[in-house]
Symmetry: C2
């Protein structure tokens, strides 16, 4: 008989509309046996780091026909995380393995389909990186920039939500390639980070700009070749007025729209025609086959300090709900991680 | 000394805002010598057919940084047409040649840069076809469908303004490839034409649909792979809700928006992400190098009756202003041509 332990969990109370609140989630505790059931080929993991990501907002409401499932009210929230295998019913995993992938917002999780997990091979980098630069956001930046944007050296690149988990990497990738890179973010501190830590050529605080079109004209007098879209709404509309011939928009996310009952209108799509713009939505799920190639590129860059990564770490499972909510007001500076336990 | 003749012309009075009216243009008459000036390498042509095209609406206002020039108030309108060379200062053209390309809305035009004209080789088809199926709209349909839409047999294709100069061809190309094709148009007569003349699988009158989303769900219960966009606005928004995974939108035009002071908002762009949609604007100007290849394909299809083309012909230069205006209320049935003179 294996050990039975208590298992703190973060539960979604009900489907959410409008701006999510801490009270939409609650802490609870159940017990769990630290062993995989006999007939299961799952793995039982101890969660070390949990990831707060914007795509989790749509999962808080009732979704139909989406690429992700809605969270189930009354059940623990699920999301990307880094975990340690305590017991395994799957031949590909053994006790002690470190993994990243979909897990639960709780101390321990029985993962029924471990084939979707990634085994962590490189442990000479911070383990939390597997929720960010070495995890889903890293692959999102890599696939979105190199596979969707068709970037060329010297091009003019604009990134919104640029200090976030994905944006900070896209900007650094673009600089490595020799692009001119400008980012927008929502505070002076983030703007400083973009310019001084991540090496963006320019950055601005969108909250201080009355006229986003004018702001973009100031930073891109010759126009924008590539827009890495993380926010949607008014910023997208302003970018549409400032694209160059054959510009590209990689649509990664639209965080400014996720909490609205009705999204904002976008008015300037006619420029797609005259400027021959390609606007393309993408999901990282379609690109995970490139993960080994990405690791080969990114690990040396990290070790040589050519790419840096800023994380905002909240301590303890109890801090997960406010950390998640904070994404939507931009409270996080860099990638929002929750440290749940030590190895 | 060459013959001096009178030259009727259609003049744009002033830049236009809102819905264009016949009174925005006026008929005038000047005189012209039917001879190219000594120092010119232009050609002097007699205009036979003039083309009315939606892209001419933006040219009626003051444009900056566009791919086309604004019409000059007080000067004749310019547009695509079929013409006969009466005199040539250019070694590539001689008296009697038939050409199509940019000319003036007048009886005779001195074309200063004839290198942009196409010489007409095939004269065993109606000459007016060079304003439509064998001219700019034909190349638009060809490039837009084959080069931008990445179509595959069996895919679900939706076309708006489907009985127009471009739409009727896109639908027939899609049928030839083995796609399922539905078109929207603005009258019962046009819907009949789509189903009975052009061989669309289904068609509907968008003016009779209270809920465009519901209409599209009715015709595409499994969703739309390809949307050939000619109208913009509410139709685009409804299509965004009905696209399939990896759907494509070729943005050819947005005629519903051209007369508005402020374009309508488009609200459903978030589906670009979850469905991995590519939305791409294009201009036929970028594809004219494919014209010989297009002719090779299309001429046999026309002769064998595999592709048909419906024109709406207005007689006489005086009928050109109402014919052009009529495009924006959908008065035309098929390609709007103005017959100016006989060969």
């Amino acid at each position: 008989m294996a050990e039975m332990v208590s298992n703190k969990q973060v539960i979604l109370n009900n489907h959410v509309s409008g701006f999510p609140k801490e009270s939409d989630m609650s802490m609870t505790s159940s017990t769990i046996e630290l062993k995989v059931p006999h007939d299961s080929n799952g793995v039982l993991v101890k969660n070390l780091y949990l990831s707060c990501d914007p795509y989790m907002r749509p999962r808080m409401k009732k979704l139909e026909g989406s690429y992700v499932e809605s969270f189930k009210p009354g059940s623990p929230i699920s999301g990307y995380g880094v975990a340690k295998v305590l017991d395994s019913g799957h031949p590909g995993f053994k006790k002690g393995d470190l993994v990243w992938g979909m897990t639960g917002w709780e101390e321990y999780t029985l993962i029924a389909t471990p084939q979707s997990l990634f085994k962590i091979q490189h442990t000479d980098v911070p383990l939390s990186y597997y929720t960010g630069i070495l995890g889903m956001p890293g692959m999102t930046a890599y696939a979105g920039f190199y596979e969707v944007c068709s970037p060329k050296p010297g091009e003019y690149v604009f990134i919104s939500a640029a200090s976030g988990a994905v944006g900070q990497l896209v900007g650094q990738f673009a600089k490595l390639l020799g692009c001119y890179v400008v980012g927008s973010a929502g505070s002076k501190g983030k703007v400083d980070l973009l310019k001084n830590k991540f090496g963006f050529d320019e950055a601005f605080n969108y909250k201080e700009e009355e006229d986003l079109n004018a702001a973009l004209k100031r930073y891109f007098p010759e126009g924008i070749d590539i827009y890495f879209e993380n926010v949607g709404g008014k910023m997208l509309d302003a970018v549409l007025l400032n694209l160059r011939l054959r510009g590209r928009i990689a649509v990664c996310g639209m965080i400014s729209q996720y909490n609205l009952d009705k999204p904002e209108g976008v008015y300037n799509l006619m420029t797609l025609i005259s400027k021959r713009i390609r606007m393309e939505g993408f999901l990282v799920l379609d690109y995970y086959h490139l993960y080994p190639k990405y690791l080969e590129m990114i690990i040396p860059h990290i070790k040589e300090g050519k790419i840096v990564y800023v994380e905002d770490t909240a301590e303890g499972l109890e801090s997960a709900p406010p950390a998640l909510i904070g994404l939507f007001s931009g409270r996080n500076v860099g990638k929002q991680v929750v440290a749940v336990a030590c190895e």
